[in-house]
């Protein structure tokens, strides 16, 4: 039996207002093995910790139970406290009487009774605790960044700058992401390409950075410090090492009718293409869905014109295996599909465009060479209506429940640019709220109204009807208490943004958690915003939530700092609460091996002494404690009860249950 000390914390009034802490300490003092029991205002304070340390020495305690907040908050604090007093840190148990008791109950009597029960369970458990020692595991000093947009590029540059190798995996033929499609950036109106392409070139030229373009992550195994990742390099039918990026093939390819994804289908490209002039790597890619040679074996023009001999129609997907210490997710976002909002006539008229399409229509490298022209007839639009919050801030059944955050600012930017370039246009912006928190953001929006004369109307567009080459817009003006009818030439929809579709399967591979909108969740929404709850997985950019460029870059650098902190360590201290099989009970069924998400369990044939001096060869499970994360899946799966989790053994759990039911 252990000599147990019980320490009941008031947590100011957090616990003491609902739980009679004195009574809890008094009742628990009578539990078997308890040699000392007390209560104190703030157990986590310096004075509280000293009190615990003194009691350990004075009463020769071998186990400590602390009735306080969730172990997520202060378990580490108290473990360290006890370790300093010479007690094994795993001889400490926390009874959560705050989150699971005082905060959720109103009646003091009931709450006190429950606190006693929770304390009793912890005491029952600590009696069965055994001292545990942490092992260490080495750290592979290489990082993987998934997604090569501005978030991924910034993270990779910062990690490389600290001297570590970084690989970027980008599913498109070029890095750069959404920012390459943007014309100007708010609130300074500098050209997006002018500030992005130098970073793309930096990434390409950096010796520490390796870019896997047109590639995807196909599997992830391992754990923090030691991930094993398989990268699928999709066949682009062009030898990257030979292609010089001269672009001759992209001019000579006879297949001219391929919707140009870079311009969002507003114009066409060839079947062999380089997405845009500043692409990194500047290497051609064949679109297998449209290439005549790949589909019917007849053509081969690109191969004939290529002086470098880079075209290879027989190229296959290649798989590369690599080890990493840390993984950064930077999978970004996409505008939503607008099928559900056809009152805005997006499917009925080419002159109703999304804001991202509008970027391309304003961009010098876009389908119209930077002159704003209506997609339907190539005429200058004279009246443009912008609609905000399309698909954002909706009831779950009608769209995304969140605010997409960037739309207010880019719409103000579009409206301002229209008025600046074409002062003869009338520009209306229909808004629900104008949300412009951010440095120089509200000033920017006010400039659009005051200096550029953009008509901001508080209200929403109800419907858009294409009629005789015009778009009849019916809208509300809530402040003027009137219904507006506008004959517009173009309507621009600020579509909500959502995480990229590749994020969900990736999260499964990484065992990283997501919210209901498929945004990755942080380890803590305020205090650990760039880490996933899964150790070794970090978050960068819009995969974590809607973000503009300045915020994305800030988060990207923050994620890099966290990665550098991890890669700087030679060894990581492992969690000693790992699984342990009882070899005599193991029947070799492999159930545990199948459920282990970390690949920590292997089977070996081992000799056992049988009756009458015989030797038996039996197949038994082995756990690699450096790989085991202590999730406990195997202990549940084991049909013979041979697998146990150190620190959370079946016996300990049952003792807790018994104590609760007593």
């Amino acid at each position: 039996m252990q000599r147990v000390g019980v320490f009941v914390c008031w947590c100011g009034s957090n616990i003491a207002a609902t739980v009679d802490v004195e009574k809890v300490a008094e009742v628990l003092a009578k539990e078997p093995g308890v040699v000392f029991s007390t209560n104190y205002q703030y157990m986590c304070s310096q004075a509280g910790q000293e009190m615990i340390q003194e009691s350990i020495a004075k009463y020769n305690l071998t186990g400590v139970v602390i009735c306080s907040c969730s172990p997520r908050m202060h378990e580490n604090t108290f473990r360290k406290t006890c370790e300093k007093a010479g007690l094994n840190p795993y001889m400490v148990e926390i009874a959560n009487i705050r989150e699971q008791c005082s905060w959720i109950h109103k009646d003091k009597e009931t709450a006190t009774e429950k606190a006693v029960i929770l304390g009793r369970a912890a005491i029952a458990k600590v009696h069965l605790n055994a001292p545990l020692t942490s092992g260490t595991s080495p750290v592979k000093k290489r990082a993987l960044v998934i997604g090569g947009g501005i978030a991924g590029i910034q993270t990779a540059l910062d990690i490389a700058d600290a001297g570590f190798d970084v690989d970027i995996v980008e599913k498109e033929p070029t890095i750069g992401g959404k920012m390459t499609q943007i014309d100007k950036t708010f609130p300074t109106l500098d050209c997006a390409a002018c500030i992005l392409t130098p970073k793309m070139v930096d990434a390409a030229q950096n010796e520490k950075i390796h870019i896997y373009s047109y590639s995807e992550v196909s599997s992830v195994k391992g754990f923090v410090g030691n991930f094993k990742v398989t990268i699928k390099k999709k066949a682009r039918y062009v030898d990257e090492t030979k292609c010089t990026g001269c672009g001759l093939c992209t001019e000579k390819c006879p297949q001219k009718k391929v919707p140009n994804a870079f311009n969002l289908g507003l114009d066409n490209r060839r079947a062999i293409y380089i997405p845009f002039a500043q692409a990194v790597p500047k290497v051609a890619t064949i679109d297998a869905d449209y290439c005549t040679m790949l589909k019917s074996g007849k053509c081969g023009v690109c191969s004939k014109v290529c002086t470098a001999g880079a075209i290879d129609y027989t190229q296959k997907d290649a798989f590369i295996e690599q080890e990493y210490g840390a993984i950064v997710v930077a999978t970004g976002f996409n505008p939503i599909k607008l099928d559900q909002y056809d009152e805005f006539a997006y499917s009925q008229s080419p002159d109703v465009v999304t804001s991202l399409e509008f970027e391309r229509l304003m961009n010098a490298a876009g389908p119209t060479g930077g002159t704003l022209l209506r997609p339907s007839d190539g005429q200058h639009p004279h009246t443009i209506v912008f609609v905000q919050c399309v698909g954002s801030r909706c009831d779950d059944s009608k769209g995304k429940p969140y605010c997409s955050k960037i739309c207010c600012m880019y719409t103000a930017k579009h409206a301002m640019l229209c008025r600046e370039k074409y002062p003869d246009t009338d520009v209306y912006v229909f808004y629900i709220d104008v949300r412009t928190p951010g440095k120089n953001f509200d000033e920017f929006y006010r400039r659009a109204v005051e200096e550029y004369g953009v008509h901001y109307v508080k209200g929403m567009v109800g419907k858009v009807v294409p009629e005789n080459g015009k778009l009849k817009v019916q809208a509300s003006d809530l402040i003027g208490n009137q219904q507006l009818h506008i004959d517009a030439d173009m309507v621009v929809l600020a579509a909500a943004i959502e995480p990229d579709k590749s994020a969900r399967p990736l999260a499964t591979m990484l065992t990283a958690s997501m919210d209901t909108n498929d945004f990755f969740t942080e380890a803590h929404p305020k205090l650990r915003p760039v880490e996933s709850p899964t150790a070794g997985i970090f978050l960068s950019g819009a995969c974590q939530g809607p973000k503009d460029i300045p915020e994305t870059v800030a988060q990207a650098s923050a994620a890099a700092a966290k990665v550098i902190g991890l890669l700087n360590k030679d060894h990581l201290v492992c969690n000693p609460c790992t699984a342990q099989p009882d070899e005599l009970m193991c029947n070799g069924c492999s159930s545990c091996e199948k459920v282990c998400p970390y690949g920590a369990i292997t089977y070996v044939d081992k000799e056992f002494r049988g009756p009458n001096r015989t030797t038996l060869l039996r197949r038994v499970a082995q756990v690699n404690p450096a790989v085991c994360q202590g999730c406990g899946a195997c202990t549940v799966a084991c049909p013979s009860g041979a697998m146990d989790l150190k620190g959370f053994s079946n016996k300990q759990i049952m003792a807790e249950v018994d104590a609760i039911c007593r």
């Binding site: 009152e343 009831d395 009608k398 508080k458 929403m460 567009v461 109800g462 509300s476 809530l478 219904q483």
Partner: protein
């Protein structure tokens, strides 16, 4: 009265984010004194009698464009339906007594209409 309207219509006015898409969608805008986004606001702020006595509530076509397009599923048309029902029911006195019914019966009048009228004007 607010609770009655909420109960009949099933509308929770607190879900409204005051975007005005309902009013933007309304084909009967010009003929109504108050407009769909105001219906919701008036329920929330207890201005039911003002709404009941306003002009043009009968011009709501129940086309449900506002219901269909509301991003937050508030369903303003159901408010006006409930308000119209409240107007009908408040008429006061029994407009129809059971004794009068036999005299009203004829072959062309569906029995349902009499039952409906009886129920509407009962109170």
């Amino acid at each position: 009265m607010i609770d009655t309207i909420k109960r009949i219509s099933g509308v929770n006015p607190r879900k409204c984010m005051k975007c005005g898409k309902c009013t933007a969608s309304c084909p009967a805008f010009e003929r109504m004194q108050f407009h769909p986004h105001q219906f919701v606001d008036m329920v929330e702020n207890g201005r039911i009698h003002e709404l009941m006595n306003s002009e043009g509530i009968d011009f709501c076509l129940s086309c449900f464009a506002c219901v269909e397009r509301c991003p937050r599923n508030v369903e303003p048309a159901k408010v006006i339906e409930a308000v119209r029902l409240a107007v009908v029911r408040q008429q006061g006195g029994a407009h129809l007594t059971p004794d009068e019914i036999p005299a009203l019966l004829d072959d062309e009048l569906p029995q349902q209409a009499i039952t409906a009228a009886f129920r509407k004007y009962r109170k």
